[in-house]
């Protein structure tokens, strides 16, 4: 666990601080799209009648029910506002939520990046927003496969059958090293990247937001894991005899006042994670 948290740190969710830290993490295209996440956080700031914002247990993130509620109410707002008689508070809430842009539930995007003989080389990008947890991550898979009924080469894009898409989804929900083994039964993976945003942990001066990047493939030189949040359970790593290696690292954005405490805590965990200080 992080450095000592004040009791009041877990009482409320500091969305403005989370949004500042999200921008400060400077997430690249291997992570979930940070602007879309920021828009969802902005929607979470709208006070909902009878639904106070509470943190997910042990974190400084809003609880999963709130993340899902925003997307659900945004979808319901047009039909409710068009004919259902509601009180002023609920009408104002629905009008405000209708103007927001919650995280979508995107379909995977699979592009053709080349050909290897009669096989196609593709890149699958799949944003997974598991809001009930909440868990936000992006899987980027570079692979080679033979076109088939389940995997159709359309020239610029690759169309995946629902069955193959479901199997890929199942595989990509696992830790990177385990996902690689599952993916080998479906395609010829070349490089898998899992970029995950969160969790946010309560800190003395505000939330500590983090993001982790896992990469697995034969092109990596060595297996390297540096994540103080893994704890004693650790993370599955490829066997030394395996043809692939794993790199798993986390980075942090913390309030500027907490920077010394964050560095001290990371050092005590034997971690060299990058820490960014964010001024409020």
């Amino acid at each position: 666990m992080c450095a000592e948290a004040h009791p009041e740190d877990t009482a409320a969710v500091d969305i403005p601080a989370l949004r500042r830290q999200l921008a400060a993490l400077r997430l690249n295209r291997l992570y979930p799209p940070w602007r879309a996440v920021d828009a969802h956080l902005a929607a979470l700031q709208i006070p909902a009648p009878d639904a106070p914002l509470v943190p997910a247990p042990g974190t400084a993130w809003p609880e999963g029910a709130a993340w899902t509620r925003v997307r659900v109410d945004h979808g319901l707002a047009p039909e409710l506002l068009s004919g259902v008689p509601l009180d002023a508070a609920r009408t104002a809430y629905l009008r405000a939520i209708a103007e927001t842009q919650p995280l979508p539930d995107p379909a995977p995007r699979c592009a053709v990046v080349g050909h290897v003989g009669d096989r196609v080389r593709g890149e699958l990008v799949w944003d997974r927003h598991l809001l009930p947890v909440p868990r936000l991550w992006r899987a980027t898979l570079r692979f080679v496969a033979r076109p088939s009924a389940d995997l159709v080469d359309n020239g610029l894009s690759i169309e995946l059958s629902p069955d193959l898409r479901a199997r890929l989804r199942q595989a990509l929900e696992r830790p990177a090293a385990v996902a690689w083994t599952a993916l080998e039964a479906l395609v010829e993976p070349e490089l898998l990247t899992l970029g995950e945003l969160g969790p946010a942990r309560p800190g003395p001066s505000g939330p500590w937001l983090s993001a982790a990047l896992s990469r697995v493939g034969p092109s990596l030189r060595q297996t390297s894991v540096d994540d103080p949040l893994l704890g004693s359970a650790g993370i599955p790593v490829p066997a030394p005899s395996a043809a692939v290696r794993l790199s798993h690292h986390r980075k942090w954005a913390v309030p500027a006042d907490d920077l010394p405490a964050a560095r001290a805590w990371l050092k005590s965990q034997g971690s060299r994670n990058l820490v960014v200080a964010v001024r409020s």
Partner: protein
């Protein structure tokens, strides 16, 4: 009260009542949506060659639990808003009923010697009768709104457990079976279907009453036209 204002008031009462009847229909639809959201998806029947191939292949993966949870939560949240709308509708209908009772109880306008006074007296009597008829229908709709609110409250409470179970399933990682109580979800699905059927039946009954009211109003309009013609004929003579 001048004639156009009184007629406009009756129209406004009638429009609000129609909107409340439409709300009952929307509630029934929301219950159906919840029923379908909680019902497990039926697997599609693939072609024979695909079924043969699958005999030698691993079983198909289960549908996305996160999507199922979100669909159920959406239907459940819609019920939540419908509950609030029913509360608002009951309060509004009670106010309208009181106002209609006052309109219906207005003392009859004394018919005067002039043609205009006779016409005004006739109009006032017609409006009072229409207000009394509409008051009876609104009173019946208040009872139905309250009954539906009670039933919806029970369904909402029962469905909360099912939605929570689906949320738990959605948070369990792939491969580890979520302990979802499908029997409890099935019970909520049955309850939602029964509530929706009951509401549809009541909405049909309300609409039938409103059709009777329309026929009544049409007969009164015809009688009013006849009286106006007679009065006009007397005036001309």
């Amino acid at each position: 009260m001048s004639t156009p204002d009184a007629d406009d008031a009756l129209c406004a009462f009638r429009e609000r009542h129609l909107r409340r009847v439409a709300l009952l229909g929307q509630v029934a639809d929301s219950e159906r949506v919840l029923e379908e959201a909680l019902r497990p998806p039926a697997p599609p029947t693939p072609p024979l060659r695909v079924r043969l191939r699958r005999l030698f292949a691993p079983p198909p993966p289960p549908p996305d639990p996160a999507r199922r949870h979100e669909g159920a939560l959406r239907a459940w949240r819609a019920l939540d808003f419908q509950l609030r709308a029913l509360e608002t509708a009951v309060a509004e209908a009670s106010t309208d009923r009181g106002a209609l009772r006052e309109h219906g109880a207005l003392p009859p306008t004394a018919a005067g010697d002039s043609w205009d006074a006779e016409l005004a007296a006739h109009h006032a009597a017609t409006r009072a009768a229409q207000a009394r008829s509409l008051e009876a229908v609104v009173a019946e709709s208040i009872a139905q709104l309250k009954d539906q609110h009670r039933a919806l409250r029970a369904l909402h409470t029962a469905a909360a457990g099912a939605v929570e179970a689906l949320a738990l399933q959605a948070t369990v990682s792939a491969g580890a079976a979520g302990a979802v109580d499908e029997a409890a979800i099935a019970a909520v699905v049955r309850l939602a279907g029964e509530c929706a059927a009951e509401v549809h039946h009541r909405v049909d009954a309300l609409e039938e009453r409103l059709r009777e009211l329309d026929a009544e109003a049409a007969a009164r309009q015809a009688a009013r036209a006849e009286v106006e013609a007679l009065l006009e004929a007397r005036r001309v003579r």
